[in-house]
């Protein structure tokens, strides 16, 4: 047991954040312990592998007593694009997130000849995130093709072809590049159905890879959701699991409205079961029931929130986690129903605090659920660009520990 406060003599292990056999990188949280002063998340001092746990959760250890054995590996144990912790732990069955994306595209291309798919490096190379291999070979160059590095042209072509009878799916490689397609999305796609008085809709899906944690720096790690939440006429879909990714991408392609479909880069290796059940856009899901506090999040944030909810059980706090799945339009009913039960709302948004969609969820809660509300706040990223260096980026992103500790501090032990 490491010395975590000046006066501590022993501490209780609340939660192991790594299981036996799991590797960890320097700086990654290993366990949560309760000392005489506080609840502390202990982070690894080097890269390594947890070989065995000697003191289980709930157990107490004296200062200096061995609580586990480790093997130091000396090399980065976790890949930069590591999967989310919750689903990774038993990711034996099912398919990974990127395969779910590919399968959804494959099925959509097979089901409807009007569906075409294009973007930079998506066809012959199969996508820089390897999300779309084999589609070009299967459907040929008129339906699946590579474009120049010309976001204005490819988004404009998506709009023009959608209002002339096709149902295009385009990939904008990194969400950060969506700044280049703003005109097509904001000025053309989102308004055409309105301007034609409902005569012609714009069935476009723009897939884009978003989010931090990949060590890509300030301009390849952003979460561009809030850039678009103020644009009526655009749907924003943000799945967190392979099952949802597949079903929601199918639903997005079948939807007659323009859809921004966001794929978090730290979910691509996440494995999970998929099925053929259809999911409608605009429906959130309660992915963990609980009675004390509602955590609303999306994409990677859902997994951080689930991990936080697990940690909070040690403090006697029973958190409900709501996965929004679609950020525009918001599923107000699911949020308000949960709030009615828990009376406390935490919105976890990977994205800058100011102007984010988390504020919209809080506005919804105060406007329509004020009577149910005992506490509400946002956990988001600071209002700064995203730093590159791993410890800086990790500290920037709203991780499970921060979520758990903020909730524990604000609710107190139950």
């Amino acid at each position: 047991m490491p010395k975590l406060s000046d006066s501590m003599e022993e501490a209780t292990i609340l939660h192991w954040l790594k299981a036996s056999g799991e590797s960890f990188a320097k700086g990654e949280p290993l366990l949560e312990v309760e000392t005489d002063k506080a609840t502390v998340v202990y982070e690894a001092e080097t890269d390594g592998v947890l070989t065995s746990v000697l003191v289980p959760e709930g157990g107490t250890a004296e200062l200096g007593e061995a609580i586990a054995t480790f093997d130091a590996t000396g090399s980065a144990a976790a890949p930069a694009l590591a999967a989310a912790p919750t689903a990774q732990a038993n990711g034996t069955g099912g398919i990974d997130f990127r395969t779910a994306i590919r399968d959804a595209l494959d099925e959509a291309l097979a089901a409807d000849e009007r569906v075409v798919f294009f973007g930079e490096d998506v066809a012959v190379a199969g996508g820089v995130f390897a999300a779309t291999p084999g589609l070009y070979e299967k459907y040929g160059p008129t339906r699946v093709f590579d474009t120049p590095i010309s976001e204005l042209a490819l988004a404009g072509a998506a709009f023009g072809s959608a209002v002339t009878g096709l149902r295009p799916v385009v990939e904008v490689m990194f969400g950060d590049f969506l700044g280049l397609v703003m005109d097509s999305v904001v000025n053309q796609m989102s308004k055409y159905w309105f301007l034609t008085q409902g005569e012609v809709s714009v069935p476009v899906v723009i897939r884009s890879v978003v989010g931090g944690g990949g060590r890509f720096g300030a301009i390849h790690s952003q979460m561009p959701v809030a850039w678009f939440t103020g644009v009526p006429g655009i749907k924003i879909v943000a799945p967190s699991t392979p099952r949802d990714a597949k079903a929601l991408l199918r639903a997005s392609i079948e939807d007659d409205n323009p859809v921004l479909f966001f794929e978090h880069k730290r979910l691509y290796t996440l494995s999970g079961e998929v099925d053929d059940e259809a999911l409608p856009l605009g429906e959130a899901a309660v992915v963990r029931p609980g009675g004390d506090v509602t955590i609303v999040s999306a994409m990677r944030g859902v997994h951080e929130s689930l991990a936080a909810a697990d940690m909070l059980t040690a403090s006697g706090i029973d958190a409900e986690v709501v996965d929004l799945r679609t950020i525009r339009p918001l599923d107000a009913a699911t949020i308000l129903t949960s709030l009615e039960k828990t009376n406390r709302l935490v919105v976890v948004e990977e994205g800058p605090l100011t102007g984010g969609w988390a504020g919209e969820v809080l506005a919804l809660a105060t406007e329509q659920g004020l009577g149910d509300l005992d506490d509400a706040w946002r956990i988001a990223t600071p209002d700064t660009p995203i730093p590159y260096s791993p410890p800086l980026e990790d500290a920037h992103l709203p991780g499970a520990e921060r979520i758990a500790s903020e909730i524990a501090a604000r609710l107190g032990s139950r």
């Binding site: 120049p148 204005l152 404009g156 023009g160 209002v163 295009p168 308004k191 301007l195 409902g198």
Partner: protein, 324 residues
């Protein structure tokens, strides 16, 4: 008679067709005059960008397009719309903000759409029409249809132009790009902000390109036939720079003071309506037939005005955000 009318031309061929094109051009000019007058009387709101002087371009190109073709136009788009056959009453009612407008009063002058008339829309963002036509070309590739993009010389310096022209060429899309070079991007002379000849920008991508007299409708029609034929045959895009001139300011708030003295007068001598009328008379069309035609267009416009002013405004209502 202008100096131009003394030049000898090959016969027009189908004179009746050109009489009809003259009628359309006359309608556009009269329509724009009416819009200007209604604007000054406070009946049309916001802003307008008039097509007066450029009629030969839209009418010449529209004369070679078929049912399967599509057009993306600019915010100077009343002429593009009327050339395609958009109902002038509905177009005027749209300007007037009436419920009977082509878009129910939702669009106004700059954002008119009329898919049933093959008009994808008028694009209020400079260069947006090029992107829309590129996408339409993608959808039309398998059908034999052609997509036409109209844009001004100002759009030549937009990313949309370069990106889409390259995209069209590598994908061999059936897109005809028509640059209406009227000499000014808004208030600024195009030479002041444009490096090198416009046409060369297409030629460097090995896109066939030509610069034509955009004031002479028969010249435009011939070039349009070449361009559409090239695109329709699966050869990829075609670029036409039509040299033209707007007889009015950029928008309703622009008196056009940046024009050098005498420039407008010199261009007015090459008014596309004057040129075509002279040509038709040369070909033996009786002046009386043309005068009757002009009078009938005037009468029509007076009726459009009367009906438009009498039409109801839309009731405020809640609109759906999404198609359900």
């Amino acid at each position: 008679m202008t100096a131009t009318s003394r030049v000898e031309f090959a016969p027009l061929g189908d004179v009746d067709l050109y009489v009809d094109l003259y009628r359309r051009m006359r309608l556009i000019r009269g329509f724009e005059d009416l819009v200007q007058s209604l604007f000054l009387r406070g009946e049309i709101y916001g802003t307008t960008h008039l097509y007066s002087g450029q009629e030969a371009v839209a009418v010449g190109f529209a004369s070679v397009l078929g049912e399967q073709d599509r057009v993306a136009a600019t915010y100077r788009g009343h002429g593009h719309a009327l050339a395609l056959g958009v109902d002038p009453q509905k177009l005027l009612d749209e300007m007037l903000g009436r419920a009977t407008g082509i878009n129910g009063g939702l669009a106004g002058s700059m954002n008119v759409t009329s898919p049933q008339d093959r008009l994808i829309g008028c694009f209020g963002i400079v260069g947006g029409s090029i992107a829309a036509a590129t996408g339409a070309g993608l959808a039309l590739r398998a059908t034999g249809g052609v997509a036409v993009a109209y844009f001004g010389d100002g759009a030549m310096n937009q990313g949309y132009f370069f990106e889409c022209l390259n995209f069209c060429q590598v994908q061999k899309l059936p897109v005809v790009l028509v640059c209406e070079n009227n000499g000014y991007g808004e208030y600024t002379a195009f030479e002041a902000v444009t490096a090198g000849p416009i046409r060369a920008r297409a030629e460097v991508m090995e896109v066939p390109a030509e610069t034509i007299d955009g004031m002479s409708v028969w010249t435009v029609r011939d070039a349009a036939a070449r361009a559409a034929g090239h695109a329709r045959s699966g050869n990829g895009p075609y670029f036409v720079e039509a040299i033209t001139y707007r007889f009015v300011g950029h928008s309703r708030s622009d008196p056009g003071k940046y024009r050098p003295d005498g420039e407008l007068d010199r261009w007015r001598e090459r008014d596309p309506l004057v040129l075509l009328r002279a040509r038709l008379e040369q070909e033996g069309v009786e002046g009386e037939r043309l005068e009757d035609l002009e009078a009938s267009v005037e009468d029509q416009l007076a009726e459009y005005e009367e009906r438009g002013i009498a039409a109801p405004f839309p009731e405020p209502q809640a609109f759906s955000e999404f198609k359900g």
